[in-house]
Amino acid sequence: MNIDNIKSQFPIFNNKVQNNDLVYLDSANSSQKPQVVIDRIYDFYTKEFSNVGRSVHYLAVAATNLYENTRVSVQKYLNAKDKHEIVFTKGATEAINLVANTFGQKYLKEGDEVLITELEHHSNYVPWHYLRKLKGIKIEFAEINNDGEITLESLEKKITPKTKIIAVTHISNVTGAILPIKEITELAHSKNIPVLVDGCQGAPHLKLDMQDLDCDFYAISCHKMYGPTGLGILYAKKKWLEELPPYQGGGGMISEVKKEGISYGDLPNKYEAGTMATAQVIAFNESIKFLEKIGIKNIVSHEKKLMDYGLEILKKNNSVKIIGNPRNKGSVISFTIEGVHPHDIATILDEDGVAIRAGHHCCQILHEKLGLAATARASLGVYNVKSDIDQLNDSINKCKKIFDLK
């Protein structure tokens, strides 16, 4: 598969958006879908649909097998030890909530500390905040440095004997900083502290190896990985899934239900209550195959080249200020233009078909720290090409012209 022709596999680019070719630079928010994923959803509903894990008829058995095939594909893709370490959720947000809720229920008490960072997306802060309200735990924030990075040292500074779990992002969705997860887990484990990684920005863009990273939990958003919406994945070490209580109660997650008591199902059913996003899970297998076919190494180098090009071009552009300067950086470029509010930037770029995001990107803690109400963000996916960056720059220039900037 030639990576420069990858755009042709995404049908959204065949259509004009408001009479423009779409320049999609919002993949950190959500990625577009390749034809194979769209087809798989259509085919499943057209020819193969049944609920999984319940009935014994032909379609139910076939659907169950397809559903479980994705679990195995994900296990292999993540290099997890066991397929039962893969739990499907409705999103990465639910995956983090699952851990915060069950871990908090069982192991956290008043005065205990959860260590997160100033880079975290609200979905890796708010679920812990509930525990602050409910149990009186404390939330500590490791601080960013001037480059918008979280270093091992800045985390270590905040670890105390009361730290019960560390929850960090893999890649910042604003500064693009890649956190040293392996080093963080080594440090944390030396103090018997488990580590949760918010992998929303990591999973689509980095080689993943759970056994190597050795984190305890890793949350994934499938729609950012060229997969369907409504689906996320929680990777968790088996011992945790066995030890932690169930999250939601309902059908599918039980073993035996009696008036006087209930016993819960084995893994992974224990955490998959109710009818799951069946079509999405089955289609996500195509996303994994798609990524494997291109090869994560190729994806990493393609996106790195584009990002370096983007940084080079935008740094040359007067009045554009890049937010953060991390040494290890994922394919996210957040910026401001002196004198133009990010929402005005986004609206003006939109007229040229350039889709970016403006706002606080669900990172109000970070924006407050940076002293910014909002930033504009261009983020890359596998389908982006050099001309997308050129168009971004041209549209930024148009924006500057409207606002009389040089």
């Binding site: 990010p342 929402h343 005005d344 003006i348 007229e351 706002g359 109400a373």
Partner: protein, 157 residues
């Protein structure tokens, strides 16, 4: 409606050089407004005399060109107007931004209507409507003296 109509000269001018920016002496009503999605912030001050007439009005704030221009045009418009007129015009403006094609208040002169209609460009950009209306909701709160901060994400506005 296109981008040029949203970012008209008058909007860019008011956005870049907002009128009535800053606090005023001896204000007797004020209110704050916040749009957490954009980060727009506005603080409206007014001096209402005993005849319920706006003697002076100003605002402090930061935000996008649309929100700044809207606050600037609004404060310019209401200086010297009476409370009842102001309330009627606020309603008229908010209805126009939400659904009505034109402004209908008899309290508005034609040139005032023309100026306000410059803000109607946001109708095509639903995500930006709150940018244009934040200062207007905040002014209502100030007039009513109800001491509550307007938050565009908490209100049905």
């Amino acid at each position: 409606m296109n981008l040029k109509e949203l970012y008209q000269e008058i909007i860019l001018d008011h956005g870049k050089n907002p009128r009535n920016l800053g606090s005023i002496d001896k204000f007797n009503r004020d209110a704050k407004g916040h749009n957490p999605l954009c980060g727009d912030k506005v603080h409206v001050y007014l001096k209402l005399n005993e005849k319920k007439k706006i003697e002076d009005i100003s605002f402090e704030g930061s935000g996008c060109a649309i929100s700044m221009a809207s606050a600037s045009i609004m404060t310019d418009l209401f200086k010297g107007k009476e409370e009842s007129e102001v309330k009627e015009i606020i309603n008229d403006f908010l209805e126009m931004i939400k659904e009505k094609p034109e402004l209908s208040s008899q309290k508005l002169q034609d040139d005032e209507k023309t100026k306000l209609m410059c803000l109607s460009g946001v109708k095509q950009y639903p995500m930006r409507v709150k940018c244009a209306t934040l200062s207007w909701h905040t002014l209502t709160s100030a007039i009513n003296n109800d001491k509550k901060e307007i938050n565009t994400e908490n209100e049905k506005i």
